[in-house]
């Protein structure tokens, strides 16, 4: 039990001290170790991604099983997750897609049956039977149909038309929509926050108005408004930002030192 806690602390100390000194040692051998460690971060990240996907799968199945609010969308989450993976790893070998659409449908049905096996234990035999049948059909199509194939070592699947449609024409517009909501939330937050409750709040309100009107050329005395607004942004605002940045810098160094020296142990699960 003691070793279970001491080994991680020792590793953190050794690698932390190495990374600290690597910053001051430009030699090629030090650089090689640094890049080797960075590569390991990617490897650990990919392994952790597998754990993350398993966590998402389990939570979604649990939602379906216990019929939590909006449980139907968990099906969409899981279907979307696995079908995009299939699209990303498959590509045409020739001019036509052959039985690829049939493969996709049977794969999705097999996946649905698998979810039902986990979510509805009472009928697991029936769903298991159907799931097995669909999975067998999908595997047979994948083996026998030569018009398309799996590409795990190349990025050919990323040019798959279905992948591109779902990514470029579905996902990107949805993500852009979420980003666009920010404009409305800024307006609502500003409406709530910019109130002349006291002297400081009033000063904030006036400064915010001046800065917002900065780019309006039709105001009377627009040039003076622009000058005042530029001064506000470049002098008091920048001074405040720099002060915070200095504090953050010191805080980062202090926290990093505490972690390396084992003083800060919260990340290990022991406060």
């Amino acid at each position: 039990m003691a070793m279970k806690r001491q080994i991680p602390f020792a590793l953190v100390f050794i690698f932390g001290i190495f990374m600290l000194f690597q910053y001051f040692v430009p030699h090629e051998s030090s650089e090689w170790v640094y890049e080797f460690l960075l590569d390991w971060i990617y490897i650990i990240g990919i392994l952790a991604l597998a754990l993350g996907i398993w966590s998402l799968f389990r939570v979604s199945v649990d939602k379906i099983k216990t019929k939590k609010p909006n449980w139907v969308y968990s099906y969409v989450t899981l279907m979307g997750l696995f079908i995009m993976t299939v699209f990303g790893f498959t590509a045409k070998t020739g001019d036509s897609w052959g039985l690829y659409p049939v493969f996709v449908i049977t794969f999705m049905l097999a996946l649905f049956m698998l979810i039902q096996v986990l979510a509805k234990p009472a009928s697991r035999n029936l769903y298991g039977l159907f799931g097995g049948a669909f999975l067998l059909a999908a595997v047979l199509i994948a083996i026998l149909d030569r018009t398309w194939g799996f590409y795990f070592m190349e990025a050919k699947g990323l040019q798959n038309s279905m992948f591109r449609i779902f990514f470029d024409d579905v996902m990107m517009p949805i993500l852009s929509t979420m980003f666009a909501l920010l404009a409305f939330f800024i307006a609502s937050a500003a409406y709530r926050a910019f109130r002349a409750r006291n002297l400081l709040a009033s000063l904030l309100l006036i400064a915010a108005l001046i800065v917002m009107l900065r780019f309006n050329p039709y105001l009377p005395y627009a040039a003076y408004v622009a000058k005042v607004s530029n001064w506000l942004m470049n002098v008091p605002n920048l001074a405040g930002q720099r002060a915070i940045v200095i504090g953050i810098g010191l805080g980062i160094v202090a926290t990093a030192l505490k972690v390396i020296l084992g003083i800060e142990r919260g990340y290990m699960g022991k406060g």
Binding site: E31, S55, K270
Partner: protein, 409 residues
């Protein structure tokens, strides 16, 4: 009248034609002048040395300007640098420098398979040519060398950083040892930290869960590490009060660490059986998809308290405003300067910048952590003193003072 106008027009036309003819006539003369340019004076004092403070695979060539560069015949347009493995040649061109420049770094790749490979520990000889507008009219300097590239074991340009880090380490160790000896250390109260317990109590009374968002950082970010510490404290309180906690994560490594933190907190609180493994789960690594998922959780689960600790970007206001709409008490802490104003506007309590890193000391009140906080404060005091000294030095033209703090890459 018409005749006079016509004569004036013809005179103007004639004058322009003559002027144009003279310009045409001049052009061949200019070309002739260029053809007969004499070679400029060569650059002098050419030196080739290993580029300092690097990993090797680079040699720096310096020289004194040709007297015809900006003076004399002013005919030098650029310099061309040549390199060879032997003093007798053959020399290959490795680059050019504009007129007025006296330094050139000849570097390359460290990989042998690369086309741009520059070997270490191999002797090279350099020559610098002063070149005119006509490439064939030039003069060469003396051969400089041999020079070979090698990596350094210490970057002298980063000495100020090393001094600062060592000084800070000494301060930290000093105050931590004073704290360990039992000295009382005062820290000013932080509203956000003091509100955590009340917020958890509120959630318990209302029978609603607590939502803890670790942000979009990775486990390597210091802000995320600080957020783990706060999560541990919050999870322990949650376990003691028997409230639910929901922790949706953006990064899978952060998820695994957070699971360990929360599980340990439940164990510390003496309630390991009430720990739910699915309370900490992975959502997605897409920024706005993560926001959509967390917003959905807020509107479905209606948590009584939302805690945002860690690294946040454009999604900060999306999260905070949705939480405000859901009626949750919101406590936030981030070191992202651009997002702090959004959190201040939309959340009830905000930890600004370094207050996030101080949160662990505040929550635990351990002497060791408070001691490190004191070291941070003294570090800031030192920065303020040096900033004032820098302003004075700049006003008096004492450039040596600012050079003391210059850090080279």
């Amino acid at each position: 009248m018409k005749v006079i106008l016509g004569i004036v027009f013809l005179a103007v036309l004639l004058t322009c034609s003559v002027a144009f003819a003279q310009t045409d006539a001049m052009t061949p003369a200019d070309s002739t002048a260029a053809d007969t340019l004499s070679p400029p004076a060569p650059p002098t004092d050419v030196k080739a040395v290993d580029t300092p403070n690097d990993h090797g695979h680079s040699i720096t060539v310096t020289w004194k300007l040709s007297t015809d560069d900006g003076g004399g015949a002013k005919s030098v347009s650029h310099y061309e640098i040549f390199r060879s493995a032997s003093p007798t040649g053959p020399f290959d061109s490795v680059g050019t420098a504009v007129a007025g420049q006296t330094i050139f770094v000849n570097g390359g790749d460290k990989e042998k398979q690369s086309e741009d490979y520059f070997p270490d520990d191999s002797n090279f000889y350099y020559r610098v040519d002063a070149v005119t507008m006509n490439d064939s009219v030039r003069s060469s300097s003396e051969i400089a060398g041999p020079a070979h590239a090698y990596g350094q074991w210490y970057n002298t340009g980063r000495t100020p950083v090393l001094v600062a880090v060592l000084l800070f380490m000494i301060l930290t160790i000093y105050f931590v040892s004073r704290a360990r000896k039992g000295q009382e250390l005062y820290v000013r109260p932080l509203g956000g930290i003091e509100a955590v317990d009340d917020a958890i109590g509120r959630a318990t009374e209302m029978g609603r869960p607590i939502l803890y968002v670790l942000g979009l950082g990775t486990a390597a970010d210091v802000a995320t590490i600080a957020a783990f510490t706060v999560l541990g404290r919050v999870a322990k309180r949650v376990a003691e009060y028997q409230t639910d906690i929901i922790v949706p994560t953006y990064d899978p490594i952060v998820m695994t660490v957070a699971q360990e933190v929360v599980q340990s907190a439940y164990l510390d609180a003496g309630r390991p059986d009430t720990y739910k493994e699915d309370s900490v789960f992975f959502v997605t690594q897409s920024q706005f998809a993560y926001v959509a998922a967390v917003n959905g959780i807020m509107l479905r689960e209606l948590p009584a308290t939302n805690v945002y600790m860690g690294k946040f970007y454009a999604e900060s206001l999306l999260l905070a405003e949705t939480g405000a709409v859901a009626g949750s008490i919101q406590i936030s802490g981030t070191d992202e300067i651009a997002q702090i104003p959004f959190f201040i506007v939309a959340c009830d309590y905000t930890l600004i910048g370094e207050e996030l890193y101080a949160a662990s000391a505040y929550l635990g009140r351990e002497p060791v952590l408070l001691g490190s906080l004191k070291a941070q404060d003294w570090g800031k005091a030192l920065v303020i003193i040096l900033a004032i000294a820098g302003i004075v030095a700049a006003n008096f033209g004492w450039t040596w003072f600012t050079h003391l703090f210059k850090v080279a890459n």
